[in-house]
């Protein structure tokens, strides 16, 4: 007998009696979604730029390029100085990646990013700093709404990103920038 069937057979001896699936009906807090999002993004060490939209984002990218930094952009309408390389490993020297965010979550400051917009899956993790462009009307109150909004087709990869990479593994001292991006800036567009 295969291990699969052994496991499934063993489960027939389970002592648990059937328990119904609960209905998930949690009241959302809908007032001032952008404000909630901004507060929570700050809590997770990210920064929100409310004004200026794509123009402000492009201005920021131009400034970074002028400083001699390597910037890649996957946001339509934002031009950077590096293209998506053929292999993921070649992203190792990217200073800033500019990526579109699909859905923002007000209650925790997380942003859903889908691999359709990443070039390589590793882009938002391997870059030294991350910039996300989020449409303002795509901010939802909580994770329950977000679960309805996100798209994750067969074969895909998606990730909720809440702030820059961080760790507190050495005596619980919070250090921003462990393996992933060392900073996160979010531009509302």
């Amino acid at each position: 007998m295969s291990s699969k069937h052994e496991i499934l057979n063993a489960l027939k001896l389970s002592a648990l009696t059937n328990h119904p699936m609960p209905s998930i009906d949690v009241a959302p807090r809908v007032e001032d979604l952008v404000g909630q999002f901004e507060t929570n993004l700050k809590t997770v060490a990210g920064t929100l730029h409310r004004e200026g939209g794509l123009a402000a984002l492009q201005a920021k990218v131009d400034e970074l390029i002028a400083q001699g930094l390597q910037v890649i952009s996957l946001v339509e309408g934002v031009t950077a100085n590096r293209d998506v390389p053929p292999t993921a490993h070649e992203l190792r020297d990217i200073d800033y990646a500019v990526i579109p965010g699909d859905v923002g979550v007000a209650e925790n400051g997380a942003i859903w990013v889908n691999n359709k917009n990443l070039g390589h899956r590793v882009t938002p993790f391997i870059c030294e700093n991350l910039i996300l462009a989020l449409p303002i009307h795509k901010i939802v109150p909580n994770m329950h709404q977000a679960a309805k909004e996100v798209t994750l087709d067969a074969g895909e990869f998606g990730v909720f990103i809440a702030g820059p990479s961080k760790t507190a593994d050495i005596e619980q001292a919070l250090v921003v920038g462990a393996h992933g991006a060392c900073s996160l800036n979010v531009y509302l567009v």
Binding site: P22, I24, G109, A147, A154, A168, G180
Partner: protein, 464 residues
Amino acid sequence: MAYQHNHEAMGSQVHAYKADIFCRDETRVDWHSKALWLLREKRDRAAGSLPEWEQLRQLGSEIKLHTLTNLAQYLETFEQNCLANGIKVHWAKDGAEHNRIVHEILASHKVKKLVKSKSMLTEECHLNPYLEQRGIEVIDTDLGERIIQLAKMPPSHIVVPAIHMKKEEVGDLFHDKLGTKAGESDPLYLTRAARAHLREQFLSADAAMTGVNMAIADKGAVVVCTNEGNADMGANLPKLQLHSMGIDKVVPDIDSAAVLLRTLARNATGQPVTTYSAFYRGPQVDGEMHVIIVDNGRTEMMKDKILAESLKCIRCGGCLNTCPVYRRSGGYSYNYTIPGPIGIAVGATHDNTNSIAWACTLCGSCTYVCPTKVPLDKIIHHHRRLKAEAGKLPYGKNAYMPLVGKFMASTTLLNCSMGAARTALRILPGSLLKPFSGAWGKYRELPVAPNSSFEAWFKKHRSL
């Protein structure tokens, strides 16, 4: 190292013995206890800021219970959907089979270096030494895990595995292993050094392996949560990714995962959500993705209605942070990979020293903070009953517990001896009585004896 002592020979004294070693350095115990209590306080603030917190705990509990009661069906759905997404699925009935499967996959791809993201399941299966013996270099990439891997220690906590180490000790270790400056103990400096070191590992790895926080049945996807991004740096660079999961990790759908994602980080560290909550629903282009579904004793636990509920656990570590015994005895005092209340719940059956079921005061704080309402104190109490029924009570308890039972059941005996005790406490010097109080009296004064028994007081004062 203290935790490597031969504990088989010490039997049921193991937890007490190891805790005693930990407690020799009182300053360190206070520091350890405070560090973990800080997490508990952050957790309380995060929980308190959500009006629906209790509703989320209830939902979490019911979602997990529902899934567990239909586990075979959900696991099969999960497998079918994974296969449809191009994910290869393997089943392992125990740790040995899990390790064999992992090695076969890695060997067939000629993998030399594997980057691993924190997974308590692979710890449970002792995967690292298995692979290392077969010539595969295994790099743990979570900073805390990497620290203890370099120090050749097991984790002492399931979320903050190096919580027992001081920054000076990490500084010395990194100086020795990574060539950082001598005497440097600044966490920012040390973290940056680890970042540079681990980036090289990610970029040169042939394969990546992670644990699984949730497996979504109706999508055929796995969810992996980290704050550091190490799981995703790992899984998205090499073309081969492996994910190990216990059979208890499956949930019906994304909506269920969303509920658990709301409580997981809040209950672990007080954050609103982990920095990265990644959903993998298939391999990258030209890549391969494997999921290994592991039993390793879980179906056995499900045969017992009370023990089965420990499989609702989502491994947030909240019960460890609140536990007064864990905080003051350290993770290494438990005779199991997973320490603290949840470690007792899932590990006591296999604890051949029969000591950890007693590493608990049954205060119930763990149950109170658990985000999926695992009845931990009830489970631990149940373990004691099972040990008693199997004739495996700790040394002494077998002999004197029946006598205590008879004694407590006799009004005359109890009243007489309590009277004698009160008199003794009043007239005899403390130094003479203290030895009778055993370990209890070590850090305590003996109580002031009341003038009469409660029963006498009650008879005198009750209104008729």
